[in-house]
Amino acid sequence: MTFPAALKTDRESRVGRGRFALPAALAAVLLASAPAVAVAIGVLMTQERKACPVWWALPALLCSALMPDSTLALLSLFPVLFWPALFTREGALFPALSSVLAVALVWHAGAVVPIGCAAGLAALALLVLGRSVFWGISPGDLGLVRPAILATLLIAAQDEGMGTGARIALESLLLDLTLITLSVPVLRLMPVLVTLRLPFPPLPGFLVLWLGIHAALGLAAGVQGWSVIGVLVALLIGLISLFDVLTVGRRPDTGVLPIGPAGAVCGVILGALLLPVAVFGVFSPVLHHVEGEWVWPFWSLGGGDGAHLKVPALMLILSVMWLFFVKSWRTERGLEKAIANLLLPGTPTGRSETGLFEEPPALPWIMRRLIVGGRIRLQALTALKSGQMPDMRQMAVGLWLVLLALVLVVLGLTA
């Protein structure tokens, strides 16, 4: 029970947000079983700024404790976990913790149905997206949901006995979790490094996206029931990466570490090159445990289906060309100046300027008419109780069409 104590101290020390909680959570992932994770979620709930409403959280926690093998109980826990990060305006206190706990939940869950789990997570993400688009609210950090999706892919691949697919999913999952956990202290020390989460090619965020897509598509190509939902999960991973572009890195202010612009760019480049190597190196026993070969992917990252990603080679060619064009040897300290010039204040990341979520979208008139018509019909339906029959004549054609569609569906299913 070090976990509640760690959270408690962490909340009281105002500076080191996430300093104690993260090791405790990692320990929970590695050691604990499902009930311990449920307890941890309960403690997390009490410590957050704005937790999930109790009428949802309490039954969900009870259900998950009573029926650890049920997929629905597992799914009902995800809103509890991600509520502070996704549904509140000011974000979570412990954003990384919720995704670590989600991964632990999926990993320790007993006999869940991976397809149902993936579909539920996709529905959750789409719900959040739809809410933020139609209500004109900027979304929370949706990238926190991605590790849970990747963990689902991992257990699905393991259930089907696809070692390579499981390995790809695990690589992506580990890299993503590391990025998310690191982004908490990095925001305080050196905020530029948060750009490592962006899905543009040399950065590790791109590796997560690429590996995630290939893990999902490996399932879609190899397993019978996953054809459609695998493609959908791949697209969802892409969509979440897009929202990473919008939400990550909107704070270009200086951190604690005293570094100039050249140092910042160098840090980003070094992080992009070294972070995947370090992550795969450190976690290579885990990777080896999932799939039986010792590989340390540095030059070429396999996608499990024959595709390979050779980012370092590409970066080498790119940097040689760039140096040739910049001709930094002509001037004194030219390289430093050139690197510093790469980071202009006009770097286009930032949510406030994109204006995508400032106003709800202007729906076309036909949609608005549909919505208003639906509302009127709903009111008419509620008026049924008071004994007034609604005007059914206008709905007759639609009713017949729905009936026809139902008959066709039944025929198609029985044929």
Binding site: F200, P201, W210, I213, V231, L242, F325, R330
Partner: protein, 286 residues
Amino acid sequence: MMMTGLWAVAQTLFQLFILLVLAPVMAWALAELPRWINGEAICGLQRQMRRAIRFWGIVLKLPVAPRLALVLAIALLIFVVLPAVTTGGAFVSLANPLLIGLLLLAGRLMLGVPQQREEWRRVLPAVLVLCLTEALIALAAPGADGLGGLCAMLHIEPAPGLEGALGACALALAISCPPLREDDMIQRLDGEKSRQVREMSRNVAEVLNTAWLLLLADLAMPITVGLGGSDVTGWFVGLGGLLGRLALVVVVLIGLRLTAQERSERLTALFAGVALLLALAGRFAT
């Protein structure tokens, strides 16, 4: 072994040279042909060529501004990496569609100071369509390593469903994110005083546009890459294929522009859906 390596490097260099020559032609066609169809008087190709030659002279002699140099390096990297003429180039194995596409979009965002709102509305759907493309390739042709592997694989084992799906993806990309035009560049270089920098940025934008066109062409018709084997005649056949593909893409882009269908989210979504359906149908048919 030595000879094959040298032949691969030579092919890559030839490809780079040809694409660099084609870049001003493409820019001329994209800018002037719609006006020509409208019946206006247009200026000839010589002016554009002279501008390009002057630009490359400056680039080879003087240092370029770092951000501009990065964009230019990205465009040239894509010229080197994509399988344009044959699949035998030295760096073809690096050509992953998602990687290449995202690099190009990042370069596009780094050029000048883009209008945030407009630019995001173009780039974000394009990123999603690129993810879809990568997913469809992984789904319908497992075992293909990037675009080069896909082109080589389509000759051995034809996959009509995948080809149709990739064509629809290319069309969706062309609709959602058309190449940069003169007025785009004017907007981006709004605060820039120096005439020289403006001129350089325009030329870099032309090279970047050609790289985007090449990606679209490769996605739309991967079957025409490396049609005639890997010797010298095969190389010339591949060159013909490249010219044909690029001409087709230019015609489609001009058509989209003249009918005012570009940058429409609905059409993008429609063609992305068509691509998904085609690929799934092709997969279930086999």
